[in-house]
């Protein structure tokens, strides 16, 4: 089989942009996009808010420079300043490019792309299409890839890299529809599989499949991960599903109320109350629950977001989407009842360690988007920068891979490697005396991470989390796949996803324990302040003898000196 020039794993914004850019760079390339779902289903579609770019359509005095500063400050100074410069200076170009290829955008009176204010940004620079920006970007990219004739392998689950010394030979993947394991020999591989925040399971706003597959594959192949301990929590997720109730609900005047009927934010932010910064509000909700002032339910402890005093008219006219969501997913009409909420994990800042071109330490392997860690978000991502990240670095990785693809001819992936994988997967289906249910382990994983490596962290709790993870890994070896059919075996896929999450959870916990400071999304109650002398550096994790070996990398500085982060 002739090797592909580029195999892209993941069909979200980053993967599709990479594919398109690679074809633009060299139309003769043989490119495959492998996705475990249909690309138009990818989680990019869930991003509602928009993408930041200093177009200066709305605020005429906005500049790329201001965008750079906001991003670095937002990252709590852990972002690499050269990477942030790339992100922000490419932003206007890439938003216009998306517009030129047909992405729908909301418009201003002067017919230019509309922009709105967003948290942590000094100017209104978030470009949007109503509340469906990610959806429309994803649709457009998918349509354009179809126009260009990109080859899609939909519903293929990536299993592992095939490695030859220091270089990748390609990818091994499971064809979900047939159950066949197939080789994708490739000169270059780009991982664009999205984030890993779903490891918090019911305490995550992510799609069921955001299980960090790309990160886990890279990690198993010996490629270092970076800054894994940084996971962003959103204050108001729905109790049962973790789905987000957007900040707009508090913006319109919603109250956060505990089981004693108190508007508890008066304790934490007496002036700003419910409209304090996102991380502070998340921490406040968590404190209320931890100190026993939450409501109890089979789905876990929670608090109330009460909108009733706003009245039916205002809720219907200004918050129709939020009302619909609460009715669909929680069975609660916010006009009549308070909304049950709790903080929810929704973005992973960490990922596969890459340089500014998306290159990893392994030759021929790239990563982009939430899957990678350049790093542009540092310890805390700003709203509107995630869509931008996947577009800019997806494109850069696509171009870099296209340029490199011609220079290398990989040796073939051997049949014995495929056979090995087949045996490995079959072994999950072998009957054994004592077995574990993957669903239970998955819930316990989310629970221990939420309890011990969640919003508030401290040495004793994290250590407990690490013990729990070790026990879960042991129990995972007894997990049995009951569905033995080859065709569309979601039982098997979900078990493989759980394995990926377990591998990555160890790095999150290890990083949380070692980083003895509080920075951005990482809050240690036993080390409550930022410690630049010891911890102004990235953490890295390399798999060695079945456990993460920790390393460190300096932060690339530039024009901006370290400052205290206050708003």
């Amino acid at each position: 089989m002739k090797p592909f020039d580029i195999v892209i794993v993941g069909g979200g914004g980053a993967g599709l942009y990479a594919a398109m850019e690679a074809m633009k760079t060299n139309a003769g390339l043989n490119i495959a996009v492998i996705s475990k779902i249909y690309p138009n289903r990818s989680h990019t579609s869930a991003a509602q808010g928009g993408a930041n770019a200093a177009l200066a359509n709305k605020a005429k005095d906005d500049t790329v420079e201001m965008h750079i500063f906001d991003t670095i400050k937002g990252s709590d100074y852990l972002a690499d300043q050269d990477a942030v410069e790339v992100l922000c200076s490419e932003a206007p170009k890439i938003i216009r490019e998306l517009e030129n290829m047909g992405t729908p955008w909301s418009r201003l009176d002067d017919k230019t792309i509309a922009q709105r204010p967003f948290g942590g940004a000094g100017r209104p620079r978030c470009c949007y299409c109503a509340d469906k920006t990610g959806h429309t970007i994803l649709q457009t990219l998918y349509e354009q890839c179809l126009r260009k004739g990109v080859q899609f392998f939909n519903e293929y689950f990536a299993l592992d890299l095939s490695v030859d010394g220091s270089r990748s030979k390609g990818l091994i993947a499971l064809n979900v529809k047939t159950g066949k394991i197939e080789a994708f020999p490739a000169k270059t591989v780009i991982f664009a599989t999205g984030g890993y925040a779903k490891m918090y399971w019911n305490r995550s706003s992510n799609a069921a499949g955001n299980t960090g597959d790309g990160q886990a594959i890279a990690y198993r192949a010996g490629i270092p991960l970076k800054d894994m301990e940084f996971v962003q929590f959103h204050p108001t997720g729905l109790r049962k599903s973790g789905l987000l109730v957007t900040e707009g609900a508090r913006g319109e005047g919603g109250y956060l109320v505990n089981a004693l009927g108190e508007r508890f934010m008066s304790r934490y932010a007496p002036e700003k109350m419910e409209l304090g910064p996102r991380d502070l509000v998340s921490r406040s909700l968590e404190t209320e629950i931890l100190e026993g002032r939450g409501f109890d339910s089979p789905a876990g402890k929670y608090l109330h977001l009460d909108l009733r005093h706003l009245g039916a008219d205002l809720i219907k006219s200004r918050l129709p989407q939020i009302r619909e969501m609460c009715m669909y997913f929680e069975g609660v009409d916010p006009i009549e009842e308070p909304i049950p909420v709790r903080p929810t994990a929704h973005y992973s800042m960490g990922g596969i360690d890459t340089d500014n071109y998306g290159r990893t330490v392994m030759e021929g392997v790239y990563a982009a988007g939430e899957c990678g860690c350049v790093s542009v978000h540092g310890a805390n991502r700003l709203g509107g920068n995630s869509l931008l990240d996947i577009l800019v670095f997806g494109r850069i990785a696509g171009r870099a891979a296209a340029e490199e693809a011609g220079k290398f001819d990989p040796s073939p992936i051997r049949d014995v490697e495929i056979l090995g994988k087949e045996l490995e997967l079959r072994s999950f289906m072998q009957p054994s005396g004592h077995y574990e249910r993957y669903g239970t382990l998955r819930e316990e994983l989310g629970h221990t991470l939420g309890q011990n490596v969640g919003i508030y962290r401290e040495a004793s709790k994290i250590s407990k989390g690490i013990e729990d993870l070790a026990a879960l890994k042991e129990r995972f070896s007894h997990v049995r796949v009951f569905d033995t059919s080859d065709v569309y075996n979601t039982n098997l896929i979900q078990v493989l996803e759980l394995r990926n999450m377990l591998d990555l959870a160890e790095t999150v916990a290890a990083g949380a324990l070692v980083r003895e400071e509080s920075r951005g999304s990482h809050t240690r109650t036993d080390f409550p302040t930022r410690d630049d002398d010891n911890w102004h550096r990235h953490t890295t994790y390399t798999l060695e003898k079945g456990a993460p070996r920790l390393g460190f990398k300096p932060v690339t500085m530039g024009r901006y000196e370290l400052q205290e982060r206050t708003y």
């Binding site: 469906k132 429309t136 049962k240 339910s297 997913f329 049950p340 065709v487």
Partner: protein, 345 residues
């Protein structure tokens, strides 16, 4: 504070999910399995299916991804209507159930079955390609990224609603034409085609339209409105279909395709007689040769069964035809004026 304020008092019920099962490796034909589980109010059908998969039967197979109504993966037929499992409350469905406490769950129709509740989506992707469901930008690619097209909010609103489509295929599943002919373009693709055609940044409007008026295209729709009824995003799909038809009549003329000629023949009859002259309708729509070739056997059958339509001379005008004609002309006048206004914009 009493316990009851903390212990949310929640309604619980035994609910039976009657789920369509089929594993092509084992089963010769599909069957139904009943799963009865105790559920609290506020649970969605998808959460119930997840529970069954995790705790009762891990082999139960369905697609699901975002679980938030935006990715479109979990469309399936619930109580005989295609919809998203993740946005459907069990309690709401129980009110619609034919058998008390039983919810029927089946795969989407009109797409090839793979397993249990999973159907093949490739035919839909194939049609996206066949009908060029993308913007073919007026701007050459090498100029992309320099400056934006100027688009008024009004222009944007022309395609805003259509871009809500998440390709969940609920409309495809409910479409009555697709049940008879799987080659039919399908409502979702017509909606997407419309969205591209009204985007003034697109350069392929004419070519796309030429594809849409061919066989299995836009003229095959019978206006049953089932697609619009089932749309999970409440998109007025029929407006898009009518929009394409009007566009085709306007820019390609009435002589262009059988569909357009059929529409014209209708108008002619209604104006003249107030009802249809069915015997000659196929000839005026598709021509004599086509009619003889395709409809002769049916004509014989109709003769045998004595179901032939009356010959044209025997079709008498309806009562009050003069008043009707006056109204008809007045309406046609309005339509003509509207068209003038539109093209003048």
């Amino acid at each position: 504070m009493t316990d009851s304020t903390i212990q949310h008092n929640e309604d619980k019920r035994d609910v039976t999910f009657r789920v369509h099962r089929f594993n092509p490796q084992v089963d010769s034909k599909p069957y139904f399995d009943d799963y009865t589980i105790k559920l609290e109010k506020g649970i969605t059908v998808l959460r119930a299916l997840n529970y069954i998969k995790e705790h009762v039967d891990p082999s139960l197979t369905f697609r699901a991804f975002c679980q938030a109504g935006i990715c479109g993966s979990c469309a399936m037929r619930i109580n005989n209507m295609s919809k998203l499992a993740c946005t459907t409350q069990v309690w709401d469905e129980l009110e619609k159930s034919r058998e008390p406490d039983v919810i029927k769950v089946e795969p989407l129709r009109n797409l090839p079955l793979i397993k249990d509740l999973v159907v093949e989506m490739d035919p839909l992707v194939g049609k996206m390609q066949q009908y060029s469901n993308w913007v073919d930008s007026k701007m050459p690619e090498e100029q992309w990224g320099r400056k934006e097209f100027l688009v008024s909010e009004e222009e944007f609103l022309k395609y805003d609603k259509a871009t809500d489509c998440i390709l969940c295929a609920s409309c495809v599943s409910e479409c009555t034409i697709l049940r008879a002919n799987r080659e039919y373009v399908s409502p979702a693709i017509l909606l997407k085609s419309y969205r591209m055609n009204v985007d003034n940044r697109d350069a392929s409007h004419e070519e796309r339209l030429a594809g849409l008026v061919k066989d299995h295209g836009v003229w095959d729709c019978t206006h049953c409105y089932r697609c619009q009824e089932s749309c999970v995003k409440h998109i007025p799909i029929m407006d898009a279909i009518h929009g394409i038809r009007e566009d085709a009549l306007e820019s390609r003329g009435v002589k262009d395709t059988s569909g357009a000629r059929h529409a014209e023949a209708f108008m002619e009859d209604i104006e003249k007689k107030g009802k249809l002259v069915e015997a000659t309708l196929p000839i005026r729509t598709n021509g004599l040769a086509w009619t003889l070739r395709n409809l002769l056997p049916m004509a014989f059958k109709m003769v045998i069964k004595r179901r032939t339509p009356p010959p044209p001379p025997l079709v008498k005008s309806t009562k009050g035809i003069d008043a009707f004609r006056a109204e008809f002309r007045e309406m046609s006048g309005h339509v003509a004026k509207d068209h003038e206004k539109k093209s003048g914009e």
